[in-house]
């Protein structure tokens, strides 16, 4: 098995783990961690394809993904802290007001 296929497989598995985690976990912080897992899977695919094609554009995209991920985590955790202040819970099932 080539390193290329191996890296792609790892990236796909990381993304899948992230999806499953988002579906299964109820702790909002852990759900966020699973989103990070998905982003890491995508980043790994970017770098792998970048190597395969001999260009560096994929690595540039990884930078942008990382920057946006940092911003997203900061805002997401701020939202979680605010929700916790108001409801004293970080269970994602407790925040369903918009569904009704």
């Amino acid at each position: 098995m080539s390193s290329f296929a191996l890296c792609l497989a790892v990236s796909a598995a990381l993304f899948t783990l992230g999806v499953v985690g988002v579906m299964v976990k109820r702790n909002a912080i852990v759900v966020f961690m699973c989103i990070e897992l998905m982003l890491n899977g995508a980043n790994l695919a970017f770098v792998t394809f970048s190597r395969q094609h001999g260009t560096l554009d994929g690595q540039i995209f990884v930078f942008f993904v990382m920057a946006i991920a940092a911003a997203e985590v900061a805002i997401g955790l701020a939202i979680i802290v605010t929700v916790f202040k108001n409801r004293a819970s970080i269970n994602v099932d407790d925040v369903t007001m918009l569904r009704r």
């Binding site: 790892v10 796909a12 699973c34």
Partner: protein, 177 residues
Amino acid sequence: METLLYLVFGLAALVGGVLVIVNRNPVYSALSLVLTMFAVSALYVLQQAYFVAAVQLVVYAGAIVVLFLFVIMLLNLGESDNLPAASGARRFVGALLGVTFAGIIGALVWEYASTAGVAAGAATDAGHTKHLARLLFKNYLLPFEIVSLVLLAALVGVIVLIRTRGSGLDASEADHV
């Protein structure tokens, strides 16, 4: 030898990812996330993306996970506030979705990897970071600047979100008005 390293670090990344989901204590989940970040960074190094690997360590393992741990400790979450386990239906849907996803992506990877030839890469070995910088500051200058604006907006947004009503800033504003 190299394939062995790929295997070891790929496996470490997956083990870290599984532990993130399996652990009940969010602190342990965050630490497992560090394991995944390190392993992915090692995979970047193996693929000669040295600068991306360094940034991965600094930004993810250094900043983002610390932010997670910070919030976990700020909210004082531990094993003590045990959330009830996910319902059976949700677990089933999650597992089903996971299997479907893994199947689709695995099939795509298999298809692509079997048709793609030997890696054409390794064309940009010397002065790697210099090439990267040239690309970033020439071809991708506008997105780069936009990202800086996004980060600034996130910074301001977080401060506005976190600020409580009765804080000192609001009180002094009320005095002036």
